[in-house]
């Protein structure tokens, strides 16, 4: 899929596979209804934003931020006001155990 599709003025509908691929990358589970809805809506939005292809940007630098600031650094230390106690850090977790965040198993035990 990568690189094959040329983005032209008229954007073709996203395929169901592409929608599922993006959903997997984004860790989102979509219902059947959502897949077809997003297929349609995302294609429309992409067709709209695709108009930028027509803008001449040869030699134009990219802007990723508008502050003009560079390399803002600080001491590699924390202040009292920025520290959370273990209790505070865990207080919103749905599942904890012995002062740890509890997660679903990542590795399958044979």
């Amino acid at each position: 899929m990568a690189g094959r599709r040329v983005v032209a003025g008229k954007r073709q509908l996203l395929t169901k596979d592409e929608v599922l691929h993006v959903a997997r990358l984004a860790r989102l589970e979509l219902s059947e209804g959502e897949i077809s809805l997003f297929q349609k809506q995302l294609s429309e939005i992409l067709a709209y934003v695709g108009q930028l292809q027509a803008v001449d940007t040869s030699g134009v630098a990219e802007t990723s931020q508008v502050t003009g600031l560079e390399n803002v650094s600080r001491q590699d230390a924390t202040s009292e006001s920025q520290r959370l106690s273990q209790k505070e850090a865990l207080m919103n977790a749905p599942q904890t155990q012995d002062g740890y965040f509890k997660v679903k198993a990542v590795l399958r035990v044979k």
């Binding site: 959502e34 939005i45 108009q51 803008v55 508008v66 502050t67 505070e88 749905p94 965040f101």
Partner: protein, 476 residues
């Protein structure tokens, strides 16, 4: 008693006309009376607010000097629900954070607290700040106090509705693509989007990190200036806030605007703007000219591309910022994201994925440069720019929910400002025939908030749009 201006409330403290507790109680009872219909609040913290009010009354009784030391002493306010408030539920309007309790305050919340302001509650918003109408709240939509069948605008929907209905004199909001200016315009109140980096974003639930601006909604430009004096300035916790000094915004407020050059971008009076709105804005411009300002027609050639740039850059940044919501360390699982959040995450993920990054994201970053250059060029010849905030007044609830793209198009006049990181002030300037407010946008170069305030304040001294009350909010 309807809370009027910040200055008036504080004069009352000085003259012992009323106490902080009385004013806070008045705001809370107004919320109780009106919010059943408006639905501006997600959480109201009456006990905490009254405790704080009583504490402040004790401070005041000991020494009146505290009124000079704390610029927002005894002023009740509300905060959009994406500002972290320690121990107070913070949802950003989403079911994902339905029961989330921050363990710390956002920097601005801390600053407002130190300045004597009293937080009375957290306001409703489009979930994750994704929206222009307020209808994307995962909980319920807020209603426009001017017409309860209409949207209040978004995403700072609750904040604008709360101020417009005089529940509080000011409320915090954020503006990433127009989310302060739009609801301010739709609700007939004053809204400030400061320069990107002027106010700290520490503790603010992030939407699009190169675009998010922390600002506020108030009943007057003067009050907007008072609040910015407290919230603005370098924060070591937010690396995008420069060292740059915070001027005394109230000092030059009354300076006349004679000779000021006001640019009117010709693209801002087309772009699908309703003829009625165009006329209202032209009348506002005429008022500024009466005050001595000189109108100059200018052009921002890349205005029409700005929306496309925004709907590439913003979803891309959103998809990155919302990746942290994994339901493991905090919040509910990702299946609780609403449709609009999912849509933007999907869009952003696609745009940033291999094979499409060049065509969309990189291209958008280049056109963003062109948009910044458009503004730089016009500010070489004019001092400020004016135009409408929205192409029309508030639309009816549910009118646009089926068509996300049509809602995106509402942002056409607001997003260029965010892309360039400029400050913009929205002030009420009239009403549509059907009775809904229209807002005027005043835009300036980076860090020119003092100039914007001067222009807005001069306008509010000779007009009374900002003093009008929604019929349902008048004292019975």
């Amino acid at each position: 008693m309807i809370p009027a201006s910040i200055g008036e409330i504080q004069r009352g403290y000085r003259e012992k006309k009323w106490s902080v507790t009385q004013v806070t109680k008045a705001c809370l009872s107004r919320v109780e009376k009106l919010d059943g219909r408006i639905k501006a609040f997600l959480t109201v913290v009456s006990d905490r607010a009254l405790e704080r009010a009583e504490e402040l009354d004790r401070e005041l009784a000991k020494d009146q000097k505290v009124l000079d030391q704390k610029p927002l002493f005894g002023i009740p306010y509300a905060a959009k629900d994406l500002f972290s408030t320690k121990g107070i539920r913070t949802t950003t309007g989403s079911k994902v954070l339905e029961n989330y309790l921050p363990a710390y305050d956002a920097t601005v919340i801390g600053r407002l607290d130190e300045s004597g302001a009293v937080l009375i509650g957290k306001t409703n918003q489009d979930a994750w700040a994704h929206g222009t109408s307020g209808e994307n709240s995962d909980f319920f939509p807020t209603h426009n106090p001017w017409d309860l069948n209409c949207v209040p605008g978004g995403s700072s929907s609750g904040s604008a509705a709360a101020v417009a209905s005089r529940m509080v004199p000011f409320a915090l909001g954020t503006d990433t693509g127009g989310s302060i200016r739009c609801p301010a315009s739709f609700c007939g109140v004053t809204g400030l989007k400061p320069t990107y980096g002027r106010v700290s974003r520490y503790g603010v639930i992030a939407m699009a990190s190169s675009l998010d601006s922390v600002g506020h909604i108030s009943l007057s430009v003067e009050d907007a200036a008072r609040v910015l004096t407290v919230t603005a300035g370098r924060d070591p916790h937010d690396a995008t806030t420069p060292e740059r000094e915070v001027p005394s915004y109230l000092k030059g407020l009354d300076n006349p605007i004679g000779g000021l050059k006001v640019g009117v971008p010709k693209e801002y009076l087309s772009q699908g703007v309703l003829p009625e709105v165009r006329l209202i804005v032209e009348k506002a411009l005429a008022k500024l000219e009466e005050l001595g300002a000189k109108a100059v027609e200018v052009s921002l050639p890349h205005t029409s591309e700005a929306l496309a740039v925004y709907y590439i850059v913003q979803p891309a940044e959103v998809s990155s910022n919302l990746a942290r919501y994994d339901g493991i360390r905090f919040g509910n699982g990702r299946e609780r994201f609403g449709k609009e959040a999912k849509r933007r995450i999907m869009l952003g993920t696609y745009i940033l994925s291999a094979g499409y990054y060049e065509a969309y994201y990189r291209k958008a970053m280049q056109v963003r440069t062109l948009i910044c250059q458009d503004f730089q060029e016009v500010f070489g010849g004019v001092d400020v720019l004016i135009g409408p905030v929205m192409p029309h007044g508030a639309f009816r609830l549910e009118e646009k929910v089926e068509d996300p793209l049509s809602l995106y198009l509402e942002d056409v006049l607001t997003v260029p400002v965010n892309l360039a990181g400029l400050p913009a002030l929205a002030v009420p300037c009239g009403f549509e025939e059907k009775g809904l407010p229209v807002g005027l946008q005043i835009i300036g170069p980076q860090f020119s908030e003092d100039l914007l305030f001067r222009v807005g304040h001069a306008y509010q001294k000779v007009t009374d749009w900002h003093l009008k009350l929604p019929p349902m909010a008048t004292n019975s």
